[in-house]
Amino acid sequence: MTLREVISICSGSLVCGKQSLDRTVKLGFASDLMSDVLTLLDDDILLITGLSNIQAIRTAEMSDITQILFVRNKPPTKDMISLAEAQGITLMTTPFSLFRTSGLLYAAGLEAIY
């Protein structure tokens, strides 16, 4: 599904990375534990997380993840946005919980890794 669809499905909004709205993503992974994210071998993952801090961006950078969806409307800070922009990472937010967001996106066809 495209990132535009991700945003629409979970009533979200785009924070940065407007040029990537038509990029497609196949896999989703929901976690607040960055060490767990760092074990993933796949690229092209949508990271869904409640962890809104600089380490979430760093983890995405190390894991070659180019899109993050922050749940419960936790707004990324200026530092997070500038690091994400520098790394070409698209940031989105949704008012929904991690559980609801994951459920909606899974039902709409976003695949699980495990």
Binding site: M34, Q55, D64, D79
Partner: protein
């Protein structure tokens, strides 16, 4: 080619800087993305560890045509029980570290899984030196 970076104790916003810079260099050298991911995952976990648990330290990366040697040396206080620290799920991390998305006892196991050779020299009250080697030909994980 040698790269050197400092890791500041308790400065979580800085943790990942050495990994990020090393990633840029490896990309320029056209190293395969799978290998780069192993390198930066191991180094990033080590950076977080030094930042979270030590008095600060240094990273030295030595890149050759065959692979990368990474030495992460802190200034203490050492790991009292290395076997325990290496077991998945064991952690002494503070709540602050957990709030940063780490501290679940996966750091050292993650480092082990992403390196072709790993040695950890530590003693309680002393410093810790982690020496890693990642082969550029080996993309297995």
């Amino acid at each position: 080619m040698e790269l050197n970076y400092e890791i500041i104790a308790g400065d979580f916003s800085h943790a990942g800087f050495a990994s990020s810079e090393t990633k840029k260099v490896l990309k320029q050298l056209n190293i395969s993305p799978k290998v780069i991911k192993r390198v930066v995952t191991a180094l990033f976990e080590a950076e977080v560890n030094v930042s979270a648990h030590s008095y600060g330290g240094k990273v030295t990366c030595d890149i050759s045509s065959k692979g990368i040697s990474i030495i992460v040396a802190d200034t203490g206080p050492g790991i009292p029980d290395l076997n325990l620290a290496m077991s998945e799920g064991y952690s002494t991390a503070s709540r602050e570290i957990q709030e940063m998305g780490f501290g679940a006892g996966m750091g050292l196991p993650n480092i082990k899984n992403n390196t072709d050779s790993l040695s950890i020299d530590t003693r309680e009250g002393g410093n810790t030196v982690i020496s890693m080697w990642i082969d550029f030909k080996n993309s297995a994980n």
